[in-house]
């Protein structure tokens, strides 16, 4: 039979739990009162932006209204707009969607950018790390150039991570990241809309993925075949 617990020990335990409960309540109240500040701070972790500085080229990666921003920078004196070409997917091959670099040329031309000033980076670039490597190569081939990199605000730190990995410090210093805000949300209100919530969650997932995958090779691209589309409803897995 276990020895009876002394009354002092019981009262100590009770007061310890009371203290814990009080602490939890105070913590919850503080989180409630400062939630805006806390959520803004969390989203700020996803954003990386270099201080504005004049550069000779603009690189288009992603981001809301990126063509408007690129055209504005072009009017302000940047003479080269860099775009990249991805591997054409089946919608591009069918002619349903334009190739990304063709779309960029079309939209930039509409905004007054001369076609001669748009340069396509060499190769078919399908992942962030490959794009970053191509940017590094281009900067090494053009040692006099500096580039403003336009990217989505909540993806900017992921791009920073990728751009600094393959490049040598001399190249990294010549890249200035311009984080473009989305028209619907920013760090101070992302939790009020569905696109904002998704961008926030996906921003952290992306960052985690790239931070872990940095030293690994990119996974292979696999395009599904018509036989696999048929197998989706016949259950026949043999191609």
């Amino acid at each position: 039979m276990p020895p009876p617990v002394p009354p002092a020990a019981t009262s100590n335990r009770r007061s310890r739990w009371t203290r814990r409960l009080l602490f939890a309540i105070v913590l919850l109240l503080a989180v409630g009162a400062f939630h805006g500040w806390l959520l803004t701070g969390l989203a700020s972790c996803l954003v990386f932006e270099d201080p504005p500085a004049p550069t000779a080229a603009v690189l288009l990666l992603d981001g809301d209204r990126q063509f408007d921003t690129a055209a504005r920078l072009y009017r302000e004196g940047r003479r080269t707009i860099l775009v990249y070409r991805s591997r054409p997917d089946r919608l591009v091959r069918m002619g349903v969607l334009p190739q990304g670099d063709e779309l960029a040329r079309r939209e930039l031309s509409k905004r007054g950018v001369s076609n001669e000033d748009v340069v396509v980076l060499a190769g078919e670039l399908n992942s962030k790390s490959v794009i970053a490597a191509a940017v590094g190569n281009w900067l090494r081939e053009h040692p006099e150039q500096t580039a403003s990199v336009l990217c989505d605000r909540f993806t900017s730190r992921v791009w920073k991570l990728n751009l600094q990995w393959p490049a040598d410090p001399g190249v990294t210093e010549r890249v200035r990241i311009v984080a473009i805000p989305n028209r619907r949300f920013n760090e101070t209100n992302w939790w009020q809309s569905k696109p904002g919530l998704l961008a926030f969650a996906n921003g952290f997932l992306r960052y985690g993925f790239h931070a872990c995958q940095m030293k690994n090779k990119d996974s292979a691209f696999v395009e599904r075949t018509p036989a696999e589309f048929r197998a989706a409803f016949t259950g026949d897995v043999t191609p």
């Binding site: 089946r90 349903v96 996974s219 018509p226 197998a231 409803f233």
Partner: protein, 211 residues
């Protein structure tokens, strides 16, 4: 007093060992666990009997309409219903065509006749809304059976939502899993888009369960 403290320390040490062991087991079995999590989302069925129409859900123009086209080519359906997702900012800015137009073009360029294509009129912004549109369709076409085509990772939530919305008409639905380019349930975590789609799907699934 000493024995109480000693007992508490031993209990804490035991708890720490159990936690460490659990973490180690999860780490060693991580690929099996991730594969199970990925494959659990896929509840696609075979299409053993012909249906009257195939409904293509919005959000996966790269593969979903191609499966629908193959179903029509195999003679297992007569028409394709294309859902009408709300316009994105890129559509409104005139950068790319709407998803409805993209899907329509895919189906047309795959050789399917125009009269086999039905463009839904209700604008949808979620799978739940698409389920409501399907429920309405089944109510207005009481003799028809529908095949719902969506991506493999999306079939479980779709099934839940359609079951909740369509009631007794749910029996007239078959769910088809369209494969996704690059990854599937067995390797989704190795791809950036796979990780995002599968984790988002679990978050949305949790939201569906709570509501």
């Amino acid at each position: 007093m000493k024995s109480v403290i000693l007992r508490r320390c031993t209990r804490r040490r035991l708890l720490a060992v159990i936690c460490l062991a659990a973490v180690l087991i999860v780490y060693l079995l991580r690929f099996t666990i991730l594969t199970c999590l990925g494959q659990w989302l896929n509840v696609g069925q075979r299409l053993d009997e012909p249906v009257d129409a195939v409904m293509v859900l919005g959000g996966g123009a790269l593969t979903r309409p191609f499966v629908a086209v193959e179903i029509l080519r195999a003679g297992l359906a007569r028409k394709i219903l294309i859902s009408r997702p709300e316009l994105s900012d890129e559509n409104r800015d005139g950068l790319i065509p709407s998803e409805l137009e993209i899907m329509r073009q895919i189906v047309l360029r795959s050789g399917i006749a125009t009269d086999s294509i039905v463009l839904m009129t209700t604008v949808v912004d979620s799978t739940e809304r698409e389920a409501q549109v399907a429920a309405e369709y089944l109510k207005n076409h009481p003799a028809e059976r529908l095949a719902i085509v969506t991506n493999d990772y999306h079939t479980r939530r779709t099934r839940w939502l359609f079951k909740r919305t369509c009631g007794s008409n749910f029996e007239r639905l078959v769910f088809i899993s369209a494969p996704t380019d690059d990854f599937d349930g067995s390797n989704w975590w190795r791809y950036e888009s796979g990780l995002i789609l599968y984790v988002d799907e679990y978050l949305k699934l949790a939201k569906t369960l709570i509501r």
